[in-house]
């Protein structure tokens, strides 16, 4: 079976990895920059549910299955989500960028914004710098100032914020090079230096790159093209077209939301697939409402096997993965890479 994956963000790459590890012939069509390349590169699985912090993604996903049936996790089921994370960890390990963490328990990481956020899996260097480890220790946020990163600011903000959050009480947080736990941006860690890392926007780019290199090792072919249309006949995709045309037996669409370019306005760009929509206003009046914006529900509507619909009909040899899916809100839930990985794993494993 020949599989064509459209999109080279984390969802596209994981789908290609899964299919390749099942010995399928995979062609991955990349348009270059993805939303993944702007991300922190940590695997958020489920940080919040209905505005409440989730201690265990496992429990959260199980609760979610009962309350939000259109959520991708609910469609996929907990078991598949857990499997997919293990698959991701094994692939990352083989790609030389081991991730740590467990679906049973979230961790908190510090950010360049001077805040902390819950996440689930992270690169070893980031995982080991998790805020839970800061308790009673002298933490130093180090490294040289760069665009949008100032160690002194991160340290000073966290010194004010942490006591209010009750996650851990460090003995001291400073923006210096000295402490029991010295944390700096991954990029600034010298080769061979044993260090802890603060995730920085853009780290997702190098992680995706390493995973993609591993996919190529497994036999995935990668081409650069911007797919903008497709030929669908008898409820099946026959080929997708950009500058060139690509035929296959099955297709995975992982083009992202507006950020990645999979959506334009209220339209799916390649096929014009059916979307989950919102009635009324797309956004609330403030940029970061706790409950999120209505527009986050917007995305492609799929069945349990992740097949989308076109003019009321299911397209059976097409699966959708990642942020293009509707029915969930990665910004407020903190579930971006989790949904991407789980849906890509299932899509890439299609028969």
């Amino acid at each position: 079976m020949k599989l064509v994956v459209i999109g080279s963000g984390i969802a596209g790459i994981v789908a290609a990895l899964r299919a390749a590890s099942l010995k399928r012939e995979v062609l991955l069509v990349s348009q270059g920059k993805s939303a993944t390349s702007r991300s922190l590169g940590v695997v958020d699985v489920l940080g919040y549910l209905n505005g409440e912090e989730v201690k265990s993604p496992e429990e959260g996903i199980k609760t979610l299955a009962e309350t939000k049936e259109e959520h991708p996790y609910s469609l996929l089921g907990f078991k598949k989500v857990a499997e997919s994370l293990n698959f991701f960890k094994s692939m990352a390990e083989k790609a030389g960028i081991p991730f740590k963490g467990s679906i049973e328990k979230n961790i908190h990481v510090a950010t360049q914004f001077g805040t902390v956020k819950p996440t689930c899996l992270a690169l070893d260097e980031v995982y080991n710098a998790r805020v839970e480890e800061w308790h009673t220790r002298a933490v130093a946020i180090a490294g040289k100032e760069e665009r949008n990163f100032n160690p002194g600011f991160v340290a000073a903000s966290l010194a004010e914020l942490l006591p209010k959050l009750g996650i851990a009480q460090p003995a001291r947080i400073s923006g210096s090079e000295h402490g029991d736990l010295v944390i700096k941006p991954l990029e600034q860690i010298a080769p061979g230096e044993k260090a802890y890392a603060l995730p920085i926007l853009g780290d997702g780019s190098f992680i995706a790159q390493r995973l993609l290199e591993h996919a190529v090792k497994l036999g995935v072919k990668v081409v650069e093209d911007r797919i903008d249309r497709a030929r669908v006949e008898g409820g099946e995709v026959k080929e997708v077209m950009g500058k060139e045309s690509y035929k296959g037996d099955a297709f995975i669409l992982a083009t992202g939301d507006w950020v990645g370019g999979g959506l334009s306005g209220l339209k799916e760009k390649v096929f014009g697939l059916e979307l989950l929509r919102v009635e009324g206003k797309l956004v609330r009046k403030t940029p970061f409402p706790e409950k999120g914006h209505p527009y986050s529900r917007v995305g492609v509507k799929v069945d349990e096997s992740l097949s989308p619909f076109y003019r009321g009909e299911k397209i059976s040899n097409l699966k959708v993965a990642g942020a293009l899916l509707g029915g969930y809100d990665y910004c407020t839930e903190k579930s971006g890479w989790g949904v991407a990985i789980a849906s890509a794993y299932v899509a890439g494993g299609m028969e």
Binding site: A35, R38, S39, L40, D44, Y48, G51, E53, T111, Q112, F113, G114, T115, V116, K117, P118, E145, R147, N148, F149, N150, G152, F153, A156, S157, A159, E160, L161, K164, L165, L201, D257, W258, V259, G261, L263, G265, L266, L282, V283, K285, T286, P287, F288, P289, E290, G292, H293, Y295, Y330, C331, T332, K334, G336
Partner: protein, 516 residues
Amino acid sequence: MGSRYEVCIIGGGITGAGIARDLAMRGVDVILLERGDLSTGSTGRSHGLLHSGGRYVVTDIDSARQCASENEILRKVAGSFIHATGGLFVSLKGDDDSYLERFLQGCRSAGVKASEISPEEALKLEPNLSSSVEAAVEVNDAVADPFMLTVANAYAAREEGAEIETYARVVEIDGERVGYLQNHRRHTIKAEVIINASGVWAGEVAKLAGKKIEVKAYKGTILVYQGRAVQRVVNHLRLPSQGDILLPHQSTTLVGTTLMPEAKLEKFLIEREEVELLKREGAAKVPLLRKMRLLRAYAGLRPIVGEWKERGYALIEDGNFITITGGKFTIFRLMAERASDAACRMLGVRARCLTAKEPIIEEGEDEKLKAKLGERTMGRLYKKYGALTQKLSLYAGKKKVTCLCEGVSEGEVIFSAKELFCKNIRDIRRRTRLGMGFCQGRRCTLEAALALFSEGIISPEEAQMQIINSLRERWKGLMPVMEESLKEAKLTEATYACAGNYDKIKKHISGLVSFL
């Protein structure tokens, strides 16, 4: 701070700032109280057009005359803050062609310089104009940055000894006593004369003094497109209506304006229909707009005394309380002069107005600064800060780029924060254009907060509050054009909420609720 003044001006729009400078130059001891940042009322929400007068020649000849003469004066005294783009009035297929004659006659009797040119010539001047242009008249329109012109007036006023207080909300006026709130503290001062220059809020301020003044507010909405579709102001040659005007403003094109009576002075909304009307009217004159990125929409309120067609100003004297309102941006200097004359009469001050002759900020280029920054950077700064660029020299070493879209350096951010009456990032945006480009603040808001933090200007908590408040302000501008802006909106949310967790953390950042 002394607590006795000769004059207290309420309102820091262009009129209030103009009065502060005018009076300070006459040696009057003056304080200006502005409840927010300078130019945050109607001034900053206008399009910054310096009218040739053409707009009013058929409906309001007095306004047309005033515009024509003030346009001339401002070019002389504030040349560096004004972009002498020139302007065109154009009529399109289907417009009433008898208007042209009335217009030209009106221009002649009002002293508005106007010369008719052929549609071909108009297209040569503005190649993006619609090919359905049927008549065209060249006029002397110009464009000013309303924020910077206000700041320049306030800066000059301060140099002459005026005190300028922003985020100072007047809550009490009793005879000579004025009480105001600033930083959650109550202050009281005394002033022999009080000048109410609060624009659409003039009625509310008058009420504090126990006086009754009726000001109507008419909302005007403006669209901002990325890039310059026109090099000069393009007006619709017809009876004043909605969607009549396009103008180049820095790196953007503005399309204005709607005209609607508005009952609310705060939190009024921009309707989607207004956006559609402006999109349609703009594209009818310049079809290229259909392909350009619509960045945001904003709206302001015109203060109008009497009928909406009359755009003249009103000067009302009542005891020691002077109200100056109505009017328009172009004639702010004249309004300031008349209000200052009235105040001086009350005070028995004989000094004459100097603002029609003296430049607001002494022009001239700093050769040392030019050598340090290079001709190109200097030129770019001059376009934004006019003659105030010279004052930037102390900060010129900080060349790191803070805002990539608009090319704003860290030095400009610090300069604005320290010298140009800024209290937060939103204020800095009004001076520097930080966050006004295509990403609407996503890439530079954190960076700007870090720059202020590094300089010791704000604490980390203040930095956090400023980031959130600043992005909130940008969001308001995106909302009316959300369908066109989903990518930027989602990316902003993904950056600050998903990665930064601000949606959940903001409640822990103390003081957020009480921020100014």
